[in-house]
Amino acid sequence: MSKYFPRRINILTLSLILALVIPVFFRKPFFLHVMVLLAIWVILSESLNFVTGYAGQLALGHAAFVTIGGYAGALIMLEEGWSFWAALLIGGGTAFLSGLILGFMALRLRGDYLGMVTLGFGEIVRIAAINWVAVTRGPMGLPGIPRPEIFGYKFLGELPWYYLGIALVVLTHFSIERLLFSRFGRACLALRDDEVAAQSMGIETYQYKVLAFCISSGYAGIAGVFYASWTTLFSPDSFQLTDSIMMSVMITLGGIGSLLGIIPGAIVIGALPELLRPFTTGPGIASLRLAGVGLLMVLLLIVRPQGIAGMSIKPVYISLEPIRRLLVRKKEPEKAGGPDETTIVEGR
């Protein structure tokens, strides 16, 4: 029977199982509320990591794509009555296309110049969202964005949203992982490591950069629709410059270009204000949190610029050998027995 028991478990699978089980024990609405926010941060950092970490292009304007995607999705739900699921695609698609436009223009630049241009684009989008009142209703934002519905089941309350968030995170991570190990992903890694060498191997570096930028923007747009439907209110200030920088801090902490490190990075930085909440009260908390993030970023870049996980894209496993030995040794003297079989199967 022991052959059915795995020798090791992928740390991602383990955390997924844990995440699925957590609400059984902790189901306070506030806790789940924070968890949904963290899910959004994880999706956003994974999307930013795609362009900054894998393709090596610094982008500091991701909030713009969240805003564009969020508005596109919210408007199509409000004005045309489309369902949430279609709006996710519309939001992602719109963000993808705007990423294409900006990417075509900006990706001829390198490094910090690219960062500044994307940052400027982020501000342009925010200003446009504030001033284009006819469509966006300006600074007041769009209220009353509908919640998703599937086969008559409406996503209300924190618990269904928690699972929806997890589903989206899994989908994002899995698709990004597949992309990374495809021909396209390997080309991105190659051009990040040495652009000239990649070019001499026949990789059209400019096109790959633009495509990586678009894909990353598309994910950000999807996260925007998710956020809009969850809070039911979307305004130009929902995602702004500081949020773009926050995403950069998350991937810096996690390890720019790592596959796994991004998730703990996003969770730590995303949960920081909630962890600080008991110690600081009053209106200063938002400023204190941002100042703390800035300090953390500087310290991190000086002490450990590679972040938690460096640039590793290998899966990490946890050995299950001790548990396995425990279970198997117990069973051996009894030999095969019906009830034991079922317990082992359950243990898998």
Binding site: M105, A106, E123, T242, S287, L290, G294
Partner: protein
């Protein structure tokens, strides 16, 4: 669009453009020497403005009259901002100097966050009104109005830029800075204290940034902790538009941005003022990445 309206926008553009040029110096000189964009410059600009604001209002509150108080506040603010800029370089940028330029850039982004929001935590996010420097001084040309502050801003910035240009081209310290930006390794071999030159560059950039902050703070009669974000970005746009690393370029870039922004805001809507500035940035980056006024094509990007 009457001619007076255009004239009015030109006047505002010239005045604010020169102040932008002062901010641009901080980016331009640091980029020239360290080849990285000091994102924290906007935060130093804000910090210097607050120092001057508190010093000046404290003195006005104790009955010291307008101008002596202003001059003391300005000197104090420039000195403190220069020290602050040097400290920032020492703490956040020097340890990352050997690593990639992006590491230093991200470190400066972190520094900007720390200083801006640390200040917001201390003084609160609400804008504070600044006392006027030239109450009621106005020159009428047709329907257009030139305020005393606009004249003061234009000429203060012009004088400072000219003095800086002379300093960089005519003195030994300036020559050392130029040598470092030409080739840091060679400058080091020639016995130049590279670290000291870099510190001096940061001090100059930060001091001028503080001066620009004071001018703009009084011009718009408001100071607030996040004023450095947009102002810093605009300073960067000027530095890039004029060709990064050059002082006359920064001035021309400032004038270009100031005029473009004010004319654009006048013809479209004032809500789009900042969007116009960023559009200028994207256009410059696309078509003349070495700067509109650059004669030689250097591979600075």
């Amino acid at each position: 669009m009457s001619i007076d309206f255009i004239l009015q926008q030109l006047i505002s553009g010239l005045a604010i453009g020169m102040a932008y040029a002062l901010i641009a110096i901080g980016y331009s000189m640091v980029y020239g020497i360290l080849k990285f964009i000091n994102f924290g410059h906007g935060a130093v600009y804000m910090f210097g403005t607050y120092v001057a604001y508190f010093a000046w209002t404290a003195m006005l509150g104790r009955g010291i009259s307008r101008w002596p108080g202003f001059i003391v506040a300005v000197v104090l603010s420039i000195v403190i901002a220069a020290l602050f800029g040097m400290a920032m370089e020492r703490v956040a940028y020097r340890p990352t100097r050997g690593k990639s330029r992006l590491t230093t850039f991200m470190s400066s982004v972190g520094m900007a966050l720390l200083v801006t929001y640390g200040m917001e935590f201390l003084v609160g996010p609400m804008p504070r009104p600044t006392p006027p420097l030239f109450p009621g001084v106005m020159i009428h040309i047709g329907d257009a109005v030139i305020t005393g502050m606009q004249v003061f801003m234009f000429f203060t910035a012009l004088v400072l830029l000219v003095v800086l240009q002379l300093f960089v081209t005519k003195t030994w310290a300036g020559k050392r800075i130029r040598a470092c930006s030409e080739d840091m390794g060679a400058a080091y071999l020639m016995g130049i204290n590279v670290d000291r030159s870099i510190s001096l560059t940061f001090a100059i950039g930060s001091g001028l940034g503080a001066m620009a902050g004071i001018l703009i703070g009084i011009y718009y009669s408001a100071v607030y902790p996040t004023m450095g974000w947009i102002a810093g970005l605009k300073g960067f746009i000027c530095a890039v538009a004029g060709g990064i690393g050059s002082i006359p370029g920064a001035m021309l870039g400032g004038l270009l941005l100031g005029l473009g922004e004010n004319l654009g805001a006048g013809f479209l809507s004032s809500g789009y003022r900042d969007a116009i500035a960023f559009t200028i940035l994207i256009l410059v980056m696309l078509f003349r990445p070495t700067g509109i006024f650059a004669r030689e094509q250097r591979s600075s990007l």
